[in-house]
């Protein structure tokens, strides 16, 4: 089962994890990733502002999860991505995948993060303590990580 949320509210990793575990004795492994707002030593961050494209963002995440399901034998996928103004240390994104096998859980979790980073319509703006703002630029390294999945299996 695929479950996607794009929300302002924080998420509870313990709670999300328990949903994936959920008394299904076919689950052999659960891989979870969370991304957090990291502070910047050289230019302290007051907050990170996240915006998205309502409708398309959810559809994009759903499609990425469906691609993962086609590629690996998975049981459940849960994606939560926050929007709005987040301060350093706050959680941004949760990706959790359950499977009978650990290689599938790991592969799918990392695949979803890599594709999300380069395909899901979200945009981040750093709001610095000196009052200035700076739109985060897309990284070549993220593009390269996402493209790995077109080659290897």
């Amino acid at each position: 089962m695929i479950s996607i949320s794009v929300q302002i509210e924080d998420f509870d990793v313990g709670r999300e994890y328990r949903q994936l575990q959920a008394g299904n004795t076919e689950v052999g492994g659960i891989a979870v990733f969370t991304g957090l707002v990291r502070d910047l030593a050289d230019n302290p961050l007051a907050a990170m502002q996240l915006e998205h494209y309502p409708g398309m963002t959810e559809a994009s995440l759903q499609q990425t999860a469906a691609q993962a399901t086609a590629r690996w034998p998975l049981i459940d996928i849960r994606i939560v991505h926050r929007i709005g103004k987040l301060t350093p240390g706050e959680q941004i994104v949760f990706v959790g995948v359950s499977s009978a096998h650990r290689a599938a859980a790991f592969g799918a979790c990392e695949f979803i993060m890599d594709v999300l980073k380069t395909s899901a319509p979200f945009w981040k703006k750093e709001l610095h303590r000196d009052g200035r703002g700076h739109w985060v630029e897309a990284k070549d390294s993220d593009q390269q990580r996402a493209e790995r999945w077109n080659n290897e299996d």
Binding site: E51, H81, V93, P121, W123, K125
Partner: protein, 82 residues
């Protein structure tokens, strides 16, 4: 048609959304970009970066993608979520 702008592009243009009738002679995304760039120097510059992405009715599309009057077109810089 509806045209949406996101991220730094929205900020540069000072608007997140335009509602307008499909302009004469505009058949695809490339035509629409050419049309919008006429607006002023800011639009010319912001829409001319060469890195912009585009979606038609919430599906990623290239400059050759056909558009019709009822469509929702979105223009935005490369995404940076996660």
């Amino acid at each position: 048609m509806k045209i949406l702008f996101f991220g730094s592009l929205r900020e540069q243009l000072g608007t997140g959304e335009l509602e307008l009738p499909l302009p004469d002679g505009v058949n695809n995304i490339g035509d629409l970009l050419t049309e919008l760039k006429q607006r002023d120097a800011q639009w010319q510059q912001s829409l001319g970066t060469g890195t912009l992405l585009c979606a038609v009715n919430q599906v990623m599309a290239g400059e050759a993608a056909a558009i019709n009057d009822g469509d929702e077109v979105a223009l935005f810089p490369p995404v940076t979520g996660g």
